[in-house]
């Protein structure tokens, strides 16, 4: 197993954004979300899958996502999450903020290329 240390303080803000982004196309359950993050980050952002759940709880409490019990692809009960309207707004806000930060960091880190 590759283990890249992922700093929690980066995750703190971004994990929420990642979850929202993954839910943008449609509802998914915790298991799917965890694997989606792993897969899409090419296994760089490798988190303990358990730590996803407090984040989901927090997002749901803020009203950005809503949940319901459903049946998964392989016919198992699972709790599904979907974006709410507020969540969609939050996602776009977070994305633009993220892009600003990335651009700023890049400018600092690679001034020669400018």
């Amino acid at each position: 197993m590759r283990k890249k240390p992922v700093q929690t303080d980066i995750l703190q803000g971004t994990l929420d954004m990642l979850i929202l982004q993954i839910l943008a196309p449609g509802a998914a359950h915790g298991h799917t979300i965890a694997y989606a993050i792993e897969r899409r980050s090419e296994e760089v952002l490798l988190v303990e899958h358990g730590s996803l759940y407090p984040a989901l709880h927090r997002l749901e409490d803020r009203g950005w996502i809503a949940s319901f019990w459903g049946t998964s692809e392989n016919n198992r009960k699972a709790r599904y999450y979907r974006l709410t309207a507020a969540g969609r707004k939050q996602l776009s806000a977070e994305m633009s903020r993220w892009e600003r930060v990335v651009r700023a960091v890049n400018r600092v880190m690679r001034p020669a290329k400018e």
């Binding site: 359950h29 915790g30 298991h31 303990e48 899958h49 358990g50 730590s51 759940y53 407090p54 709880h57 927090r58 409490d61 998964s72 392989n74 198992r76 009960k77 699972a78 709790r79």
Partner: protein, 884 residues
């Protein structure tokens, strides 16, 4: 952090647990699908997930409101520790419930008589018009009567700062006919009285402006209570008639149950409209109270100023006739003012106000003593729990958290004590109302809980909690863990300063309970003084009464003779030793005064019109000259018997017999020359207290005709029995005569109800305070002895006598007691000033009382500390040392 989540956190926890389980199932299934054996698949899933318990804990914490959670923990912990020592809990709870209950009960009464507004619409708008500074006793004055009806009519016609006005007056009158006649509490009102106050009828209709007209009155309204008790709750209307003062009156409606009139503590039976008699209204009778609603935005000062500007015109238009120029001038210069009236008027308020505030102070002090006791118990507990606290500190608990935990315990006790106290207060207040009610006048007070009472109880509880909880908690949390765990109650004598707080508490308790004992003794002695005070006349075996025969249609020239016949019949009743008529009974508050002039001396004197047997009946000797006899008639020389104060005041001590004085003209009473026929010693006049005024007695036969008279009867059978006999005999022969009789001595004592209340309550609180202080001293001395067990054991082992040990402990207690008593004596002198006006025949700094209270307290305290001292001296030194 949303509250909803906090409340639903259990549900959320379950929900998340199920979700986590679903994840693990999913992952395990996937792993199996990837080809892992089932056991390994489950383990791999758990690894992938991490620690499910930690995840659940994290979510649970997110759902938690920090301070609330820890407070709840503190409270539960407090409840547990209290349950572990039920004895302490019970003692604490009972003393708090008693203390808070007594305080709340007194406050409830104060609230009812002083703070509560009348149960009418917008009571805060009400204001009353009165003569600024009063009317100087001019004319006849009725209770709550501030103005005469002519003054009211003059005010009514003037432009006002009031949007609406009304007048009312309360008076006892008679309802029914013949021997069925009964007195009732009448409320006379202007026609729009009920409308202005916003009172809605319970049945029928209330009085309206049309009901106010020429006499006699034809319509009336009854109170709910009277309707229930006397009219059987029947529907009011044309069929319901009462005979009021000989005139038939139709009862048109019933007032709602909560409306009691304008006088707090009293009720009315029948409300009647004012009526205009054929003759002119008397300008001498101050019988009405004038009230109204201020126009919006009018302040009291502005309304007062406006009313003052109208005063001259009003008073000049209503000058009472036949007065001397001096008092006419005084009358013309009266000024009207406007005063707040949201709380109505109240005789009870005036009578009990200072007593109640004083009692509130007393119960406050009792609670303080109880708090000191509890604080001591808490301190003692804290020192036995020192180890536990030290361990907690050592394990990293913050001091603030420890203080909070200890305070939670106090808060629990205070809250429970307050809850019990409020329940107790309700019954106590009921008992108090009962205690101030007398047969003649029952007190009707609304002592229902209101926000003020609840706020007061809560405030008292918080203060209490602070008083007994904060210091011990702070002290306990200051423990040095290392030292506490090392010492741990082993071996050494505890340092003196460790007990300094307990000592201070005991000194406080002793001094405060001395103050309360001094107060109790003062009030009990004052009451005893009043009860045994000799007013200079016979009290026991006397029946006082009233005869009225205005319904008998006798011509006025027969009245005097008829009175004599009635008196003779009473005197002929078996058991009656003597009887006499009088215009007013002594010692019961009635007063009759005229201006007099003897030579150059001028002033006021009391007048009483009595029949010849009066002085014999009342056991008052005539020391010079003669008493009245049958030769003093309407036609003979006007004579008077005066008291010694009169002789000193008006005659300069010269031989008074045969001298004359002149009664000044006033209203219906023309100026008259009286010749002094006899002298009696000084007696009290209309009150047990107070100095004897100049008094004169005149023959009843020389008073103008009146169809009524007062009575004094001396009998050798109890007043209750003789009253029944006389009433029966008179009712048989003269059904038209109203006969009211009562026990003179009982009536006098009923007037001492405020003093009796003070004596009773301050006495019980004094005893309670002494008991609490004793318990406190006992506890602290026991505690100190227990902590010094080893030291005392060593002393005994080294050969100390048991007597020496007792003396050592007693010296300790004696020092505390001495400081406490010295401080208490000083405090009593200061506090005594507040009680000055309530004492009779005593000074507030009565040395005898102070010494007696100090000795009493000293004796009790010595007994309380002797027990632990003796226990200390009985220690088995070996056992004490082996305990190590």
């Amino acid at each position: 952090m949303s509250w909803r989540r906090y409340i639903k956190r259990r549900w959320w926890d379950d929900e998340r647990a199920r979700e986590i389980a679903a994840y693990l199932e999913n992952e395990t299934a996937d792993n199996i699908a990837r080809g892992m054996p089932p056991a390994e698949a489950a383990a791999a899933a758990r690894r992938k997930f991490g620690n499910p318990t930690r995840v659940r804990e994290e979510i649970y914490r997110m759902n938690t409101i920090g301070w609330l959670e820890s407070t709840w923990q503190d409270l539960r912990y407090g409840a547990r520790t209290l349950r572990m020592s039920p004895g302490f809990g019970a003692v604490a709870l009972v003393s708090l419930a008693l203390g808070i209950g007594a305080n709340t009960a007194i406050f409830q009464l104060l609230d009812a008589v002083r703070l509560r507004s009348l149960p009418v619409r917008n009571p805060q708008e009400l204001a009353e018009v009165k003569i600024a500074g009063g009317n100087h006793g001019m004319g006849m004055n009725q209770q709550y009567g501030e103005l005469t009806r002519p003054i009211w009519q003059a005010i009514r016609g003037k432009p006002q700062s009031f949007s609406e006005m009304f007048a009312w007056s309360a008076n006892q009158r008679y309802v029914g006919q013949g021997s069925e006649m009964r007195s009732f509490r009448g409320l006379w009102v202007t026609g729009d009285f009920f409308r202005v106050l916003g009172i809605q009828p319970w049945r029928g209709r209330l009085l309206m402006p049309e009901d106010e007209g020429a006499c006699p009155v034809t319509h009336a309204v009854v109170s709910y209570a009277y309707w229930q008790s006397h009219l059987a709750g029947r529907e009011p209307g044309p069929g319901m008639k009462l005979v009021v003062n000989n005139d038939p009156v139709e009862i048109v409606g019933v007032a709602p149950p909560r409306f009691f009139g304008m006088a707090v503590g009293e009720t009315f039976d029948i409300a009647l409209p004012f009526c205009q008699p054929k003759e002119e209204l008397s300008r001498d009778v101050f019988e009405v109270s004038v009230m109204g609603r201020l126009k919006p935005g009018r302040t009291l000062p502005r309304a007062s100023a406006e009313m003052q500007a109208l005063s001259l015109g009003i008073f000049e238009a209503t000058i009472p006739p036949g007065r001397d120029p001096r008092s006419t001038e005084t009358y013309k210069h009266f000024r009207l003012g406007v005063y707040p009236a949201a709380q109505g008027v109240s005789g009870i308020r005036e009578t009990y106000d200072s007593s109640l505030w004083l009692l509130l102070g007393i119960t406050g002090l009792v609670l303080l003593i109880a708090c000191a006791n509890l604080a001591n118990l808490m301190l003692a507990r804290a020192s036995t729990r020192a180890r536990e606290l030290a361990v907690r500190l050592a394990l990293g608990a913050s001091r603030a958290r420890l203080v909070r935990q200890l305070l939670a315990e106090s808060a629990l006790l205070a809250a429970a004590g307050a809850a019990l106290g409020i329940a107790l207060a309700h019954s106590l207040a009921g008992v108090l109302v009962w205690a101030i009610s007398t047969e003649g006048s029952s007190v009707n007070l609304n002592t229902a809980m209101d926000w003020r009472v609840l706020l007061f109880a809560a405030g008292v509880a918080i203060l209490t909690c602070g008083a007994f909880g904060v210091l011990p908690a702070l002290r306990a949390a200051q423990a040095q863990p290392a030292a506490a765990m090392k010492a741990g109650g082993r071996g050494m004598t505890a340092g003196r300063e460790r007990f300094s707080l307990q000592r201070a508490m005991v000194v406080t308790q002793v001094s405060v309970s001395l103050v309360l004992l001094v107060g109790a003794l003062l009030f009990v002695r004052s009451f005893r003084n009043l009860m045994t005070f000799d007013p200079g006349m016979r009290e026991s075996g006397i029946t006082t009464g009233f005869l009225g025969f205005w319904q008998s249609n006798l011509p006025p020239q027969r009245w005097l003779e008829f009175k004599r016949e009635l008196l003779d019949e009473i005197r002929a009743t078996p058991g009656v030793l003597n009887a006499a008529t009088t215009s007013n009974a002594p010692l019961l508050g009635a007063s009759w005064e005229h201006g007099v002039r003897a030579g150059s001396a001028e002033g006021d004197a009391k007048f009483t019109w009595v029949s010849p047997g009066y002085f014999d009946t009342m056991g008052i000797p005539v020391v010079r000259g003669r008493g009245f006899n049958e030769n003093d008639t309407a036609a003979s020389t006007r004579v008077a018997i005066v008291n010694q104060t009169f002789v000193r005041r008006f005659l300069g001590g010269a031989n008074p017999i045969g001298q004359t004085f002149r009664g000044m003209q006033e209203g219906d009473y023309p100026t008259t020359l009286y010749q002094i026929a006899g002298v009696i010693p000084d007696t009290q006049y209309n009150d047990l207290r107070g100095k004897t005024p100049p008094m004169t007695f005149e023959p009843a036969s020389q008073l103008g005709p009146a169809p009524w008279t007062g009575l004094m009867i001396h009998s050798n059978v109890p007043p209750a029995a003789i009253s029944a006999t006389i009433k029966r005999r008179l009712a048989a022969r003269h059904p038209d005569v109203i006969v009211e009789l009562s026990d003179f001595q009982k009536d006098i004592r009923d007037q001492l109800t405020p003093e009796r209340l003070m004596a009773m309550l301050s006495g019980s609180f004094g005893v309670l305070a002494a008991v609490l202080a004793m318990a406190g001293l006992y506890g602290v001395i026991s505690f100190i002895v227990a902590r010094r067990r080893n030291e005392i054991g060593i002393r005994l082992a080294l050969g100390a006598e048991r007597g020496q040990v007792v003396a050592m402990v007693m010296r300790e207690a004696g020092r505390l007691l001495a400081i406490g008593i010295a401080a208490g004596a000083g405090l009593s002198l200061v506090a005594g000033r507040g009680a000055r006006s309530l004492l009779f025949g005593l000074k507030p700094y009565d040395p005898l009382t102070l010494v007696a209270a100090a000795m009493l307290l000293g004796a009790i305290a010595t007994a309380a500390s002797f027990l632990p001292a003796r226990r200390a001296s009985r220690l088995d030194p070996m056992a004490a040392l082996r305990d190590e």
